[in-house]
Amino acid sequence: MDTACALSAKNLDFFYGPAQALFDVSLSFPKHRITALIGPSGCGKSTFLRCLNRMNDLIPGARVKGSILLDEADINAPRMDVVSLRRRVGMVFQKPNPFPKTIFENVAYGLRVNGARNAAEISDAVEAALCRAAMFHEVKDRLHTSALGLSGGQQQRLCIARALAVDPDVLLMDEPASALDPIATQKIEESLHDLKKRLTIIIVTHNMQQAARVSDRTAFFYMGRLVEEGDTETLFTRPTEKQTQDYITGRFG
């Protein structure tokens, strides 16, 4: 694997039972860069994203061929510890899904699962994660109130803080702002800009403008295949493939 890459998929095929969803996808994710995965619904981008931390393991009949390398280790190898993998490759979903606990406990949850016991250390880590998700100042006076009382945008940033608390190398985001208003979306996009200094981000989005705004690299998927990937500015100004051109200019999809 390229040492400048945080994650690297090679010749990846993925099947839901007999139906093949991904075909021979090879894609590397440079460290400290945001990569956007775009494409029409059903093109395989979310399936591919979930392959990157083995979230598809939970689906009956799902199977994967090819390799995904994280620090030269194949994440699909039998000896791979999935809990440890998901600590290193965190995930934020489309719909905010805070636990029915306090704001503090939501962020501390992953730390405790990973064995943290020292209260001061946990408290520091919670504050740091909330700061990195750009919401500490909004919630610092109500850390011990229910997370369910937060607005949708705050809940989503809390989920980002929860993922960040365990200090992952890679953060996977599956349409993280699709249910949020423009202000909440802007706050998340701004926080991504700062977060990439510490980790690698891979984001699935249906919002072309969001992909163009936040990502350094963009990969276009169509019908389970990777059609084109490259520098975001180039892809959105002069794509090489006609399918990419037609999709990003709204001529199909």
Partner: protein
């Protein structure tokens, strides 16, 4: 896979159409200004001066259309390139319109009587300017990169014709400068300024050709020496 024209595509078509309307208006202004110069018809010259307001309002209209398109649709790829090129192209077209007005005004200053040898001296340059604009507009209309590059490659032709025209003008200036009321000197000076206008028109047409290449290929060729052969091996992206 492809569907009916989206709202974005309709707006882009409108933008392109208005650009072509403006191109036609500017082309007519140039033709009329040069016809007024050659024929000494002051009425035609006045019409060119008066017609400039319509060209200016087309510039404003296209500017507003392009801004609205960017704000409302956030176009990308080739669509974005068309909008950006349109914003640049209207400036070139408006300036060509201004040069046509400048030529028409000189016809009026000379009371519709520019000496025939002055107009003859710049006949080649007039043809080149008209031809450059016509080809640049056609290349944009047909997305013809090869034709656009042809204009850029022929940049030297315009310079040579201007030099030739200026030499002839100087001859006229030297032989007739001492004539009654110094009319030869005055005509020569206006002739030189008209040559400058024609040269600028050729340059603006070359700019338009560059925009056409940018729309089609996504490559900025401003200030780069390119040939049609080089372009044939270009990236060829959509």
């Amino acid at each position: 896979m492809l569907h009916k024209e989206t709202q974005l595509q309709q707006c882009l078509t409108q933008l392109r159409t208005r650009l072509l309307v403006m191109s036609a208006a500017v082309g007519i202004a140039l033709d009329e200004a040069l016809a007024a110069l050659v024929s000494g018809n002051m009425g035609r010259a006045v019409a060119v001066v008066d017609g400039d307001a319509a060209i200016n309002s087309l510039e404003n209209e296209i500017d507003e259309m392009a801004l609205a398109l960017l704000a409302r649709h956030q176009p990308v790829a080739r669509d974005l390139r068309l909008v950006v090129a349109a914003l640049r192209m209207v400036i070139d077209l408006e300036r060509i319109g201004d040069e046509a007005v400048s030529i028409a005004e000189r016809v009026l200053i000379l009371q519709g009587k520019p000496p025939q040898d002055v107009t003859l001296a710049m006949a080649g340059l007039m043809r080149t300017a008209k031809e450059s604009l016509k080809t640049a507009v056609a290349a944009f209309k047909d997305a013809d990169v090869r034709a656009a590059l042809g204009i850029i490659e022929n940049d030297d032709e315009c310079v040579q014709k201007e030099v030739l025209a200026l030499h002839r003008m100087m001859d006229h200036f030297c032989t007739d400068a001492g004539g009654a009321h110094n009319s030869g000197a005055q005509a020569g000076m206006h002739g030189i300024l008209i040559c400058r206008s024609l040269n600028r028109i050729c340059r603006r047409a070359a700019n338009m050709a560059e925009h056409t290449c940018f729309i089609a290929e996504g490559v900025n060729i401003k200030h780069v020496r390119v040939t049609t052969d080089q372009n044939a091996s270009g990236r060829g992206g959509p």
